[in-house]
């Protein structure tokens, strides 16, 4: 029974990290109608920056995380300026945006691979000391990752639903043209969205790096965030969070009780099953393309 609770807590904490990524995808998608494929590269970039800030410059953890967030925001906003904005202004088809984003992803991930090498690095943070509630031991980093992720999600919710710039972002997600006619600054919205998603990916990268390892292809885990957002319901932010938590818990249970090798296979099977029986996800209204 203790083991079961440990698995649940660990699952929720990894689910919370997935939800940061899933929300990031959903945010970009809801406004610009394309998936930011470079997102997984940002995640790996953020993890690498934090890793080197600690291991080369001996910074404390929070300072390293802050530096990683700032640098990832610069990368995210920069990539929007260079790779997406010209296409957006030209009203290019979505296919082109997708290819451009994939290009950014390929370039950044492989640059990381060439510059830093492809080896797996252990994050230099003492995550081993567990924390006891009764007989249930909980990794301190699991707890920290879960708590901070939920705090960030709450902050994001507050920003989107309780502030004026957040209102601008939500208006743009309904109709970007009309919103700009009503005086919403499109460029400011783009800046906000890419800055926010950059920060989210960096935090997710750092926590994922602590839990597993830091390596250039670590961004592949964003497949899980995608699966989670499909499971939860397309394009819905709460759906993305719920889907991520379900996936995280399911995955840790599979790894704990069935097979850790085939964990990823189970997440994929889960996606196929959900699509067969709930084509619109658990909380989504309709998966149809927007007209």
């Amino acid at each position: 029974m203790e083991l079961f609770f440990q698995q649940i807590v660990s699952g929720i904490s990894i689910g919370a990290v997935y939800s940061l990524l899933a929300v990031g995808y959903a945010l970009v998608y809801s406004v610009y109608n394309f998936t930011n494929w470079a997102f997984d590269a940002f995640m790996a970039f953020g993890a690498f920056m934090a890793f080197y800030a600690i291991s080369l410059f001996f910074m404390p953890f929070w300072a390293a995380a802050l530096i990683s967030i700032v640098l990832t925001i610069v990368l995210s906003v920069g990539s929007e300026r260079l790779a997406y904005r010209p296409l957006r202004l030209r009203k290019a088809p979505r296919l082109f945006m997708m290819i451009s984003a994939m290009g950014a992803n390929l370039m950044i991930v492989n640059l990381l691979n060439l510059i830093f090498g492809g080896s797996f690095r252990r994050f230099p943070v003492d995550a081993a000391k567990p924390f006891f509630i009764g007989n249930v031991s909980i990794g301190r980093m699991d707890l920290l990752a879960g708590a901070i992720s939920f705090a960030i999600l709450a902050l994001l919710w507050w920003f989107l639903y309780r502030t004026k710039p957040g209102l601008g972002v939500r208006a743009s997600s309904i109709d970007i043209m009309t919103a700009s006619l009503m005086g919403v600054n499109n460029d400011a919205v783009a800046f906000i969205i890419f800055a926010v998603t950059g920060a989210l990916s960096s935090v997710a990268g750092v926590f994922y790096g602590i839990k597993y390892a830091v390596f250039p292809y670590m961004g592949l885990v964003t497949i899980k965030a995608m699966i989670a957002s499909i499971v939860g319901g397309l394009g819905s932010l709460p759906g993305a969070v719920v889907g991520s938590l379900i996936l995280g818990v399911l995955e840790t249970l599979v790894a704990g009780y069935i097979s850790s090798t085939y964990r990823d296979l189970f997440s994929f099977l889960f996606l196929v099953i959900i699509l067969l029986f709930f084509p619109n996800g658990l909380m989504g209204k309709s998966g149809d393309e927007k007209l």
Binding site: S100, G103, F268
Partner: protein
């Protein structure tokens, strides 16, 4: 000579797989970043057919391709039925190919796990590859100019409009996916019997990116463009070894640059045809006729 041979054979294999991606991505507008998975399925199936059941190579290739095509329905049917957005279909293909690689890496019984499937002979020779590429190009051309191909183009342009004109979206997409996976499967079989062994590491995400790169650079709605670039993308890193490492970084940069400055790719919307040859031939014969007439007069 052997070196040139190797480049032509590997290039030809890449061309066949890229033609499959061209049908799916270029013509139907569906993105796949997991075609390496279909290559793996076809390759292993073909190898098992030849090695364990003594099926002739050509038939085994077709079986491998068909197997890959049928497996593609595992993701194709749920993804297209629920009308997933193109981006999510791409993720599904990536997940599928990673899942296949995971299973192959951990199944030691028949396929040899991470060590790979060994003991195969080299059956893919230069004539085989030339015939295979010619057939692949011919059938791809027949497909994209057929009614099915036109349906695919309609779907890629505007799904809703295509549906209103009576195009069955699910069926069209599934057909395109089947053919595309079939091509990848055949390419996988050819690859296995050229290298004389198969390993899960052949079919990593890098290979999928290579195939996608060939189609993006070659141009959408074109067969001849991806045909050329798929070959060039194999030949260039082979000839310029120092470039091999930086290849993917440069591809990534080129993706962005191509989209910004020449989004249709090298030969986008340019269809391969032999009209120029026919024109040239008719001009030639016309001249002869004219001179013959002139001589008579």
């Amino acid at each position: 000579m052997g070196y040139i041979n190797a480049i032509i054979i590997l290039g030809g294999i890449n061309v066949i797989a890229a033609l499959g991606v061209a049908i799916l991505t270029g013509y139907t507008g569906l993105f796949s970043i997991g075609h390496a998975g279909f290559m793996a399925l076809g390759g292993y199936m073909c190898a098992i057919m030849v090695m364990e059941f003594n099926v002739p190579f050509a038939i085994a290739l077709l079986i491998g391709g068909t197997f890959a095509g049928l497996c593609s329905f595992i993701i194709g049917y749920p993804a297209f039925r629920s009308r997933l957005r193109g981006d999510y279909f791409a993720i599904a293909t990536l997940g599928f190919s990673e899942a296949i690689r995971l299973v192959l890496n951990n199944t030691y019984e028949v396929v040899g796990g991470a060590f790979g499937y060994m003991g195969m002979s080299t059956l893919t020779t230069l004539p085989v590859i030339l015939i295979a590429v010619a057939l692949a190009l011919y059938f791809a051309h027949m497909f994209v100019t057929s009614q099915y191909g036109k349906n695919c183009i309609a779907v890629s342009q505007d799904e809703v409009a295509a549906q209103m004109m009576g195009v069955n979206l699910l069926r069209t997409k599934l057909i395109a996916l089947f053919i595309s996976a079939f091509y990848a499967g055949v390419a996988g079989g050819l690859l296995g019997f050229y290298m004389a062994y198969l390993s899960p590491s052949f079919f990593s995400i890098t290979r999928s990116s290579d195939l996608l790169a060939a189609v993006v650079f070659g141009g959408i709605q074109s067969l001849i463009g991806p045909f050329i670039t798929a070959f060039v993308l194999i030949a260039v890193p082979e000839l310029l070894r120092f470039f091999a490492e930086w290849r993917l970084v440069v591809y990534g940069l080129l993706f962005v640059v191509v989209m910004l400055f020449r989004p249709q790719g090298l030969l986008g919307y340019v269809e391969m045809n032999f009209a120029f040859a026919r024109r040239w031939w008719s001009k030639l014969t016309a001249k002869k006729d004219a001179s013959a007439k002139g001589g008579a007069a």
